[in-house]
Symmetry: C2
Subunit: 417 residues, 2 copies
Amino acid sequence: MAVGLEVLKNYHPVKGVRIGIAQAGIKYAGRNDLVIFELAQGSRVSGVFTLNAFCAAPVQVSKKHLTKADVRYLVINTGNANAGTGPQGMSDALATCEQLAQLTGVAAHQILPFSTGVIGEPLPMVKLLAGLPTALANLASDVWSVAAEGIMTTDTLPKGYSQQVEIAQLDGNSIDSKNTDLITISGISKGAGMIMPNMATMLAYLTTDAVIAKPLLDIMCKELADKSFNRVTIDGDTSTNDSCMLIATAQAEMAEISSKDDPRYGAMFDALLEAFMILSHAIVRDGEGATKFVTMEVQQAASVQEALDVAYTVAHSPLVKTALFACDANWGRILAAVGRAGVQNMILEDIDIYLDDVCIVKSGGRAASYTEEAGAAIFAQPEITISIRLGRGDITERVWTTDLSHEYVSINADYRS
Amino acid sequence: MAVGLEVLKNYHPVKGVRIGIAQAGIKYAGRNDLVIFELAQGSRVSGVFTLNAFCAAPVQVSKKHLTKADVRYLVINTGNANAGTGPQGMSDALATCEQLAQLTGVAAHQILPFSTGVIGEPLPMVKLLAGLPTALANLASDVWSVAAEGIMTTDTLPKGYSQQVEIAQLDGNSIDSKNTDLITISGISKGAGMIMPNMATMLAYLTTDAVIAKPLLDIMCKELADKSFNRVTIDGDTSTNDSCMLIATAQAEMAEISSKDDPRYGAMFDALLEAFMILSHAIVRDGEGATKFVTMEVQQAASVQEALDVAYTVAHSPLVKTALFACDANWGRILAAVGRAGVQNMILEDIDIYLDDVCIVKSGGRAASYTEEAGAAIFAQPEITISIRLGRGDITERVWTTDLSHEYVSINADYRS
């Protein structure tokens, strides 16, 4: 049921990144469920993690290890989230790092562990540790599409991004208009909701060979995630394991970008933003039971917070989501959701709402020009933008979401029945 | 599909209250859709209304009229919410009051209008006004069950409450242990979500002949609603028309209760609370597609706000709601929802979760004593209490909710298709 999502076949390898994959049999036999990223010495790694108070053991370990020395390996298992597993879960996550450290000759704190799958069951450590040598034995730079499949749980399609971008060189403190450096950006993500009994959930790994200073990379990773992964919602259920990693191996031939004042910064940010956007939107497109990919846009807000409050309230409204599924351009439900978003002193008569470019609500009531046929035509499309204009300021924010379909209920309710 | 909801057949009339009903044909011909409450002179009326910023025209008029002189009539139509109707909606709500005032000889501001039904369509004023004389012509004190049906929209069952209660008399400043006054409490409510295209939504009218001073009645109405109607949630979608009215006609033979210091106050509050609880829970029991009636209880919270934040986050989680529908005792989903409720410095290891009296999560992980069979047995019941113990304080709060079923999606998505 994925909406407008195609499988990426050709990935550009990223200098300084090799990937090893194994079938460890963590939940099912005969499927790739263990993925190791090997990063060249000198790679810079940034990450943002779930804000769920009960973040999983591997998330806690990864956050701690990120504050220490250079990261050299990421180890990712599917089939088990190692969340809600108490002290045993912490010691299992650490033991995974220690075993991989022994096999590779780095320190345990140079390794970041990630898990996704069932919550509350102990990691099958014997199987997981036995898979590590196999994954290391087949490290390669051209196996991205296998890795994208290797981190899936119940995603219906693998999710990937790969581009090469020309970044202008520097000429003193300015852009050199003639010469460019070629950099590569490749990444994969997984997630389709907190799907299946206890599945948890969103993982993303974006890599580039660009040379970006670590402090700047940290800032960029946060800002990029805020515009992409932190703006998508399927069911509003933040999982215990969400992680998004941005890796710059610094292997490209280019001068380092170390501050936002660098004239190349904007181009670098935009190139990475495209990767973040596509990989985060891919998760929505493959959302549980999704039949619609919806851009919820709030314009003319007085602040970013109120724009997001309105956008999320509408995006999470079960009544709006079921109307989307029904292709029913039900503006009363949208308006009622805007009204309960908690924004102070909002004036109904200032509100306009557009479906793509069709005005459906003007000054708080049905637009005179609106026809049911025009609304139905928009809502029949698989991709829709709902624009809500508050008439309070000049801030615009967007979030991306799906509809609520019978299939969503089936996926989440019928699985164990 | 209503869960544990029976139709009340016998209502006690309330001294000072007469009800008139008409078939005005507002949306459908041949059904009762116009209800008038006539209140004896000297009745005290309090109300709480939707916090939706875009409250409907009749809500705005009722709030304004409540600040003025004694209320003598309530006029309620179904089939049209008169919401999202702009200046025309305001003038229609006022015109309804004016016409009824002319017919009854009271002032227009002594009338409170209420509407429920489709959002965004103009009130059919000719039909509505034509229905007023009919409704007035058949005013009677014993037609509560007809009134309960007359305010329904797509509720599957009418919702009512009626009890007579002995309230001790006063002996100076103390309770007279021998003599009591008999008072009556009767009420009706409607609502089952913001159901059908644009339906809006929850209405409740609770009346008593008890003699309660208006300032105290205002305080009691707010406190009672906070414990009942403000603690139920089906889909989290606060409508534009929610109204809950508490009416004391002061016709009973008893000394007035005018402060919380009155020794009879506790008994009076508890008697009304039972009515508020039963009428608000009836709305959940008749919730859209409901197969479960769930008490979401948060214990050991440090504050009321954090208890409610956790309770509502879990109650609104689509993953928890679909698990309830599936009779799947999925504690990982509950735990993950608790973790994203935004409570600061929550410690996973302090969390216990009970299903009725079965401990499923102990110290943040699966309880050693828990078995799938025990959990499945609880979840197979139509009524369940989920208790979440935070280990942070001694505050307990409860909210009441339903599951998320295929039927919910059908009701909200398939209607116009």
